[in-house]
């Protein structure tokens, strides 16, 4: 078996297990109130982290590039209460235009 196939199979199995762990093992168990309040905030915490790392991280470095400008455009669109499609397009167009002129 090639190295590529070994990587594909092991990473695939590991990812399937990681994704299924919560839904299969924690299941329908009622969480204590305090734990529930923490789990509820995993959403805002991880989404903010994804925003930060996908807009400003590049190979373990912090960078300010066209993605940051796109994020700024998205924030403006959100403040203007634009629909989600417009928010995404504003970010992509801003980044594309800046890359085209630079």
């Amino acid at each position: 078996m090639t190295t590529a196939w070994i990587a594909v199979l092991v990473i695939g199995a590991a990812t399937i297990a990681i994704k299924a762990a919560g839904p299969v093992l924690a299941g329908d168990r009622e969480l204590p109130v305090r734990a529930g309040r923490v789990v509820e905030l995993v959403g805002p915490a991880l989404l903010a982290a994804l925003v930060a790392s996908q807009a400003f991280a590049s190979e373990e470095q912090l960078v300010l590039d066209e993605r940051g400008a796109g994020l700024l455009a998205a924030a403006v669109a959100l403040l203007l209460r634009a629909p989600i499609l417009v928010v995404i397009l504003a970010a992509a167009l801003t980044a594309a235009l800046l890359r085209a002129v630079s």
């Binding site: 190295t3 990473i11 299969v24 994804l50």
Partner: protein, 263 residues
């Protein structure tokens, strides 16, 4: 006489019962139809919400296909990775490690580290899943950043929105990978089209409605802060996992947030 009265009473009672039964049955059927319609609407809402992202997903998947082929993956292994791992950043990382001459162990470590965030995500969404273990295992595979983000509503998870969104992303991701394998490098670079900027914008748009308490605001600021702080000093993947700790803001007394304060 008594028998007749009884008989009449029975008939009256019987007819009124069957009338009520019919009403109940109709009401139950209406309710079932209503629930089915609401369920279909949730699946569709999830699928529709991902359509604006579809071009970006397909092009990124295609560029993964090209990259994997150039790193020595055969076509079947390339598509198999998208079908089983179904997580963009981990796949790019693993293939990059192998392309740079790294070992399979290094590639696996990089990918597992990047995908470890799905553990807290799965835990947060766990109670939305239903049915037996096999069904939960299969449905949970549709959990990716975008479907997970969109499935949240008022602090709860909607399993149907997650599945609807996840299916669109899965088809786009696996199909796009196959396209990249078939077409080679002729499809263009997603970055030229600014498509890499679409993802943080989507996550921001999905995060804002979740910020309804000061605790949620603290969790978001803490999560972003931890991710930025750790990016230069830890391996890729660690910053986002560590950001989970910002959710501990839920232990503080709950305080509402006035909308005006964020706007």
């Amino acid at each position: 006489m008594r028998a007749v009265v009884l008989h009449t009473a029975n008939t009256v009672l019987g007819s009124s019962m069957s009338e009520r039964d019919r009403h109940q049955r109709d009401a139950a059927a209406d309710a079932r139809a209503g629930r089915r319609a609401a369920a279909r609407a949730s699946y569709r809402a999830g699928a529709r919400a991902m359509l604006p992202l579809a071009p970006a997903v397909v092009l990124f998947a295609a560029s993964f296909g090209v990259l994997a082929r150039s790193a020595g993956f055969d076509p079947a292994a390339t598509v198999a990775m998208s079908a089983t791992t179904f997580a963009g950043s981990a796949q790019f990382a693993a293939v990059s490690v192998l392309a740079a001459g790294g070992t399979a162990i290094a590639a696996v470590l990089a990918a597992v580290l990047l995908n470890a965030r799905y553990a807290p995500m799965g835990l947060a969404a766990a109670r939305a899943f239903k049915g037996g273990r096999l069904r939960r295992l299969l449905e949970s595979q549709l959990l990716v950043d975008e479907s997970w983000a969109f499935a949240q509503e008022n602090g709860r998870f909607d399993r149907r929105r997650l599945i609807g969104a996840g299916l669109v992303l899965y088809v786009g991701w696996v199909g796009g990978t196959a396209l990249g394998v078939a077409a080679g490098g002729s499809l263009g670079d997603p970055a030229t089209l600014g498509l890499d900027a679409a993802f943080p914008a989507l996550f921001l748009a999905l995060m804002v409605p979740l910020i309804r308490t000061r605790n949620a605001l603290a969790a978001a600021l803490g999560g972003a802060g931890l991710a930025l702080l750790l990016t230069p000093i830890s391996p890729a993947g660690v910053p986002v996992i560590a950001a989970t700790f910002a959710a501990l803001a839920g232990l503080a007394p709950r305080r509402p947030l006035h909308r005006r304060e964020v706007a």
